[in-house]
């Protein structure tokens, strides 16, 4: 299909993602999306009209050279496509799966003005998967060693992308991670059915092969402080994520059966509680029961769909606003509906009600309606007088966001944080107020996205390299 005219390209319909049957997948943990075959990928790639001034690139937080990699796919040069992706994005197989493309590159794609945008995310995923599955030995270019040492605190997307760039610049890099596995939210939060753990592990392994040193079970602040790290390393990057779950602060939150989404997802993903008792970490039995999830983001969708897979009879999203305001990726909302998740919109929980032994039995919900727009421009939900409903539930999962974890700030009094505990940095170079200490990702922005965290890691890596070359410049 070499030389299509723009008009012909416009005529090709967007290719949908092959996926597991909704009913079957709602009861297993295997990946929902199966990925494009190479035929579909090549055809989809032909839809890109190869704009002279590609707005999609500007829509991408790390400016992936989108038309270039798509062109390679159209020509069947998948390995080249993957290398183009990797020039700007350290984890394309991850981002192809979890980025909110509909708000970024695909939101502005020119083809999308008339029909549906080019499936940039699916193509990104295709190229990255193809490389992982087919190119077994990638000879890493071993850069000249600079002799400088950098400590990366936190093994989430921010830390990994920072480590990946720094090692390629010839610095010695050690990643310190509090948990027993590397990956941050990618490992403990986002479920297998959306992001197979094997992908994250492969990425970590390839960084390991490049020479990144990973130290797990090491809590910076407690096992070793930032101050002490400063004595051993020439620079430090802090990418510890958000990681302090908010609760609703309503009566009954102490009841057995009320979880934060972080706890619920960590038990299932990181600790594999779905395979109890072969894996000894327990999980509340929700088989045949009703689970209510509070929130409308990706975390809420992950939790509600996980509940179904654990055998829940009813899994309900309870959200204060309407579907338009839900921060989750549209694909996740769509998948959740297909799988049978119920959506209760414009409701706010008032109280959890338990039995005399402290087990959760019911939740009282206040019906809301949209009122005047608030400071964010969104119409604020306001309660409808007397419209209260009580439903029977066995588990409640609270997915309303995370505050910042206090361990680093409490043990590093010199480090300046804002009133929410987020580390304050210079956005252009991710420098904190402490010399040689940089920070990025959710700990700076509050809960955001994988790609923004990676972008911050990359910006920091560049600034760390400049600093190491010329420490005087701080």
């Amino acid at each position: 299909m070499a030389d299509l005219t723009t008009k012909e390209r416009y005529k090709i319909e967007r290719h949908s993602m092959p996926e597991q049957d909704a009913l079957a997948r709602s009861r297993n943990f295997e990946e929902v999306n199966l990925g494009y075959t190479f035929e579909i990928a090549m055809e989809e790639a032909e839809r890109c009209i190869r704009c002279k001034n590609p707005v999609c690139v500007a829509g991408c937080p790390v400016a992936v050279k989108i038309p270039d990699f798509i062109k390679m796919i159209a020509e069947g040069k998948f390995e080249e496509a993957a290398s183009i992706l990797k020039e700007d994005n350290a984890l394309p197989a991850v981002c192809g799966r979890v980025c909110p493309q509909e708000e970024q590159c695909e939101a502005v794609c020119v083809v999308g003005k008339k029909g549906r945008p080019v499936a940039i995310g699916y193509l990104e995923r295709f190229a990255a998967d193809w490389e992982r599955n087919n190119v077994k030995i990638i000879e890493p270019k071993i850069p000249a060693k600079t002799g400088k040492k950098v400590a990366v605190v936190g093994g989430g997307p921010a830390g990994l992308s920072c480590a990946g760039d720094l090692i390629q610049l010839g610095h010695e890099v050690t990643v310190f991670e509090a948990l027993h596995e590397i990956g941050g939210v990618l490992i403990y939060g986002i479920p297998e059915f959306r992001l197979p753990k094997e992908i994250v592990k492969a990425e970590v392994e390839s960084l390991s092969k490049l020479g990144v040193n990973f130290v797990t079970n090491y809590v910076i602040g407690l096992t070793e402080t930032i101050e002490e790290l400063k004595a051993r390393f020439d620079a430090i990057f802090i990418g510890v994520g958000a990681g302090l779950p908010y609760f609703l602060n309503i009566p009954g939150e102490q009841l057995n059966g009320v979880y934060s989404a972080n706890e619920f997802l960590t038990r299932v993903n990181l600790m594999k509680a779905y395979d109890f008792p072969n894996n000894p970490t327990p999980m509340l039995d929700v088989v045949g029961k009703t689970v209510a999830v509070f929130g409308g983001g990706n975390t809420a969708m992950d939790a509600v769909r996980t509940s179904l897979r654990l055998g829940a009879e009813r899994a309900i999203i309870c959200y204060r606003r309407t579907e338009q305001e839900m921060p989750a990726r549209v694909e996740e909302i769509h998948h959740a509906k297909e799988e049978g998740v119920e959506f209760k919109l414009l409701v706010a929980p008032l109280e959890f009600i338990g039995d005399e032994d402290g087990w959760l039995r019911k939740v009282k919900l206040q019906q809301m309606e949209l009122g005047e727009p608030d400071s964010s421009g969104r119409r604020r939900p306001v309660p409808i007088d007397g419209a209260i409903e009580t439903i029977d539930i066995t588990a409640a999962i609270i997915a309303i966001g995370n505050g910042s974890n206090p361990i680093i700030s409490q043990t590093t009094p010199e480090l300046i944080v804002n009133k929410w505990g987020n580390i304050i940095v210079n956005e252009g170079n991710m420098k904190t107020n402490m010399m040689g200490v940089f920070a990025g990702g959710d700990i700076v922005t509050g809960g955001a996205t994988v790609i923004l965290a990676m972008g911050a890691g990359r910006t920091a890596a560049k600034a760390i390299d400049d600093f190491l070359k010329n420490p005087e410049s701080w």
Binding site: A178, V219, L222, P245, E253, Q254, F276, P282
Partner: protein, 295 residues
């Protein structure tokens, strides 16, 4: 991977482990804990650091085999490895010279009280230690306590050793005898800690307990360890584990600790089953070997 240097039973199902963990040994303070995973599918188990030896680079933990994971841990011996050890977690005990301090340990709680008793002594307190157990064999660390406390009173519920009665009765006796007590630390089963809090309340004695809720990460990320103090939620792993005993809601603590009781039961059955299977398998293997060598 952390090597076990020493492992020995110090009470029924209660085992002491000395584990190689130099960084933690160097950093830890009284009151802090570690989280361990026995193997690569293991549960994350919080365990208080009972002691450490910076020159040997080891920490000591004392484990009561109650659930499947602790029972599995207690099958390990010197020379074996523990898959993951992370710490020191939580806040250190608040130590100062209060005057006279009473350290109360119930059962394996004595192991948790020990490091704080030691620190209290080092800070200049007159330390009284009450060590409770159901019966004689459940009274642990008496010798060690004698090294750090000025007075040690073992108590047993059945009177098989020391004072016949509960730790609170011994405490009440001391209080009634008119001794001036400035600080009480109580660690053990929840009903015991609640009873100590109730005992010291009328005397207005500053009383601290160390809580042991269900935990996952131990770094403040999951909120599973939340307890209620002064009617407000706290995350025990980062805000504690020690809290003002007169403000802790023990009823909620007790209720939340029952969350996984049915699963614990199933888990133990599974563990026993796997264990028996292993034993059968070993027996089979021995038999086969036997036949081979003699056949």
């Amino acid at each position: 991977m952390n090597k076990i240097i020493e492992a020995r039973f110090i009470g029924p199902d209660v085992k002491l482990f000395r584990i190689e963990a130099p960084k933690i040994a160097e950093k830890r303070k009284a009151g802090q804990f570690v989280i361990i995973r026995v193997n690569d599918t293991g549960e994350r188990l919080p365990l208080t650091i009972a002691d450490s030896d910076t020159s040997a680079g080891t920490i000591t933990i004392i484990v009561q085999g109650i659930g499947a994971s602790t029972k599995m841990l207690n099958t390990l011996n010197a020379g074996d490895y523990i898959h993951d050890v992370v710490g020191p977690l939580g806040k250190a005990s608040h130590i100062e010279n209060f005057g006279t301090a009473v350290s109360i340990g119930g059962g394996v709680g004595t192991a948790i009280a020990f490091p704080t008793a030691k620190a209290l002594k080092e800070a200049g307190n007159h330390v009284i230690s009450i060590i409770g157990g159901r019966s004689k064999e459940f009274v642990i660390l008496e010798e060690e306590m004698k090294q750090v406390a000025d007075e040690v009173y073992p108590t047993t519920d059945d009177g098989s050793y020391g004072y016949h009665g509960f730790v609170t009765q011994k405490l009440e006796e001391l209080l009634k005898s008119g001794r001036k007590i400035d600080f009480v630390l109580a660690i053990g089963p929840i009903p015991m800690m609640a009873a100590v809090a109730k005992t010291t309340q009328p005397y207005n004695i500053q009383t601290v307990v160390s809580l042991n809720p269900v935990m996952v990460d131990g770094t403040g990320m999951c909120g599973g360890c939340r307890a209620y103090v002064d009617n407000k939620p706290v995350f025990v792993c980062v805000d504690g584990p020690e809290f003002d005993a007169h403000k802790v809601d023990f009823k909620i603590l007790m209720q939340r600790n029952k969350m996984y009781l049915p699963q614990e039961k199933e888990s133990i059955e599974h563990f026993n089953h796997v264990c028996n299977y292993d034993k059968m398998y070993d027996a089979e293997a021995k038999k086969t070997n036997h036949e081979v060598t003699h056949g």
